[in-house]
């Protein structure tokens, strides 16, 4: 079945350094991919999503590129901010059957001064 893998459980880094969170997937179809962010004591909310027109999605300085050849949708930011400390989920939708998104296990990012 379809699945999403996030290999890092915790990423710690210093403010100003680049961030990259890994996301790989398995899907029978050609899926949409999403990144959700959840700050402490808040609900998850959409950060960005893949598009079909090959434009690279960007939001709040984050960007991700869907690479079908490697089944990946890694999240990147050139310079981390303290406010980026949060839990990040990668998720996929295969558009089939109208079911829910499939979420990875999440990566916690901790940014220190």
């Amino acid at each position: 079945g379809d699945s999403v893998t996030q290999t890092e459980g915790l990423v710690t880094l210093t403010e100003g350094l680049p961030v990259m969170l890994n996301c790989t997937y398995q899907s029978t179809y050609s899926p949409f991919l999403f990144w959700y962010v959840q700050h402490l004591n808040e609900a998850p909310k959409l950060l960005l999503k893949s598009f079909t027109d090959n434009k690279r999605p960007e939001h709040q300085g984050f960007h991700a590129t869907l690479h079908k050849s490697s089944s990946s949708f890694h999240l990147q930011k050139s310079s981390a901010q303290l406010s980026d400390s949060a839990l990040y989920y990668c998720a996929l939708s295969d558009h089939q059957g109208g079911r829910a998104l499939i979420f990875g296990t999440g990566t916690t990012v901790s940014v220190s001064p």
């Binding site: 459980g9 949409f32 999403f34 808040e42 609900a43 998850p44 909310k45 959409l46 999503k49 989920y89 939708s93 295969d94 558009h95 089939q96 059957g97 109208g98 079911r99 829910a100 998104l101 979420f103 990875g104 296990t105 999440g106």
Partner: protein
Amino acid sequence: EAAVTQSPRNKVTVTGGNVTLSCRQTNSHNYMYWYRQDTGHGLRLIHYSYGAGNLQIGDVPDGYKATRTTQEDFFLLLELASPSQTSLYFCASSDMGGLEQYFGPGTRLTVL
């Protein structure tokens, strides 16, 4: 932006207790979902629905029932609560299945 509310926000019960978690969305979305969130497991789908009266089984349904009474309201029922069901529960909605979801603020449930 979609508005999803949940009640109660916090709930403590005892083993064997009966608990109902409520979710309401006010943006006429067709799909509603119940997830539980646990450290190391991420978000796991319990049940979901694509309309009033409809119920679909998710990935971790054991011990949970759900009912969608209207387009707006989706309930999660734990009829014999167990400590393993201590978790943070999120409700979400989306206009179509498999598209971006909007989450409620969550209900923290503790089963003693």
